[in-house]
């Protein structure tokens, strides 16, 4: 069991990195990686929301959708669960921890349309994971997202000082940098089969 969980974790974090291999959550990956602080803040917010959202949607699937044969409503249900959860988390954090709210506040609304969150919820159903596996998968996936985001933020900080050809300035060089990062992550592909 522990071995299986470790395998899921390594696979979700490194081998099938959500951003660099699966293309989930590209918008925040490119959007908030300009500065290191916002990259770290976004990673934390995603870690939090992704873990909670995947567990809640797992419960919804097991307790409501599957028993009543409503699987075709999965997409609608999950996106609503995620949207309301994000709203709820925002309100709770605002009331209970102003410090945390200041750090994560502006990132929370953006997370509803982060496809990595809905992606995890759907992938968990596709792979038919149990509760512990879901938890491991979600935490590892969000850590992998954070890793990629922080790495790119570091690279972009250096890029800002580099003399670039005119045509490559802006998004072009960021995409190519992300491509090289993704190439580096392909080196992990021998670690886990499948």
């Amino acid at each position: 069991m522990a071995g299986e969980l470790a395998l899921i974790a390594v696979s979700a974090m490194l081998v099938n990195n959500f951003v660099l291999a699966r293309f989930l959550g590209i918008c925040p990956f490119l959007g908030v990686s300009r500065r290191m602080e916002s990259a770290v803040g976004m990673s934390m917010a995603v870690l939090f929301v992704m873990t909670v959202a995947s567990l809640v949607s797992w419960l919804v699937q097991r307790l409501i959708l599957a028993p009543f044969g409503l699987e075709y409503l999965r997409t609608i249900t999950f996106i609503l669960v995620i949207a309301s959860l994000v709203q709820l988390v925002e309100m709770v954090v605002q009331k209970t921890s102003p410090v945390l709210y200041q750090a994560l506040g502006i990132f929370l609304p953006l997370i509803t349309t982060n496809c990595a969150i809905l992606g995890v919820a759907l992938l968990v159903q596709q792979k038919d994971y149990g509760f512990l596996q879901t938890l491991t998968f979600a935490v590892a996936a969000s850590l992998g997202f954070g890793l990629a985001l922080v790495l790119l933020a570091g690279l972009r900080t250096s890029l800002a000082l580099a003399a670039l050809p005119r045509a490559f300035q802006g998004n072009a060089i960021v995409l190519i940098t992300a491509g090289i990062l993704s190439l580096a992550f392909m080196g992990f592909s021998g670690l886990v089969r499948g």
């Binding site: 660099l20 291999a21 699966r22 293309f23 989930l24 959550g25 590209i26 918008c27 490119l30 075709y72 409503l73 999965r74 997409t75 609608i76 996106i79 609503l80 949207a83 309301s84 509803t112 349309t113 982060n114 496809c115 809905l118 992606g119 759907l122 992938l123 596709q126 050809p165 005119r166 045509a167 490559f168 300035q169 802006g170 998004n171 072009a172 060089i173 960021v174 995409l175 190519i176 992300a178 491509g179 090289i180 993704s182 190439l183 392909m186």
Partner: protein
């Protein structure tokens, strides 16, 4: 890199034709009289000048994920086109009844409904394609372009204009995915839509089919476009 200029030669012509129309001219709240010029401006705007992928860097997850072949890119583009047109039309028709405070959840439910329709229809009538595109069909729900058009445009405009806008933006998205798919398939396998273009001796350049190639190909295409634009003095 001979392909991108050829593929992208069409849109600039469309832009120059449109430049006589004032963008957003229908924003006033007076009783909307929809003119043909309005409709044409709405249709053309999304094709190139406000292209979701190339100009605004939105909806990149499906763009990068499914464009290993031209076929996948075209299919994903058309699926998204169907959702945008349907959701724009519905949002425009119910725009008077949705309270501003809860508009986003309402739009998301409308979009999710059409995504489910497309998902189930594709599974029934194009099962192989459904398997190839996989996760990214349900993920059309969180494509920022779809929600963006619903909120920024369709919720404030009459039906005809929302339809024209949805069609334009959807076609622009399809075109971008098709272009990226063609470039990646051509460089990766030497084929386009499965038909050999390069001589059989062309060794498959797998990088462009693998995930890193998606980022690099789009990055290079943006660079080529930047250069073209700099040359044209835009």
């Amino acid at each position: 890199m001979a392909a991108p200029p050829a593929v992208l030669a069409a849109p600039p012509a469309a832009v120059s034709r449109e430049s006589t129309a004032v963008p957003g001219s229908g924003a006033v709240l007076a009783p909307p009289a929809v003119t043909v010029a309005d409709l044409r401006a709405d249709l053309v705007r999304g094709l190139w000048r406000e292209n979701g992928v190339f100009k605004q860097m939105l909806g990149l997850c499906p763009t990068l994920a499914v464009t290993t072949t031209a076929h996948g890119g075209l299919a994903m583009g058309l699926a998204t086109l169907a959702v945008i047109v349907a959701s724009n039309a519905s949002v425009s028709m119910v725009r008077g009844w949705i309270p501003t405070a809860v508009r986003i959840p309402c739009f998301i439910v409308i979009i999710a409904t059409f995504v489910t329709v497309v998902d189930l229809a594709m599974n029934a009538f194009a099962h192989e394609l459904h398997k190839t595109l996989g996760l990214f069909i349900p993920l059309i729900v969180v494509n920022c372009i779809v929600l963006g058009r619903a909120d920024a445009f369709a919720s404030k405009r009459p039906l005809a204009r929302a339809l024209a806008d949805g069609l334009g933006v959807g076609l622009g998205f399809t075109m971008a995915l098709l272009a990226l798919g063609v470039v990646r398939e051509l460089l990766g396998f030497g084929t386009v839509f499965g038909a050999a273009v390069f001589p059989a001796a062309y060794p498959p350049f797998l990088l462009f089919v693998l995930p890193p190639g998606a980022f690099i190909a789009l990055g290079l295409m943006l660079a080529v476009m930047n250069r073209r634009q700099a040359r044209l003095g835009v």
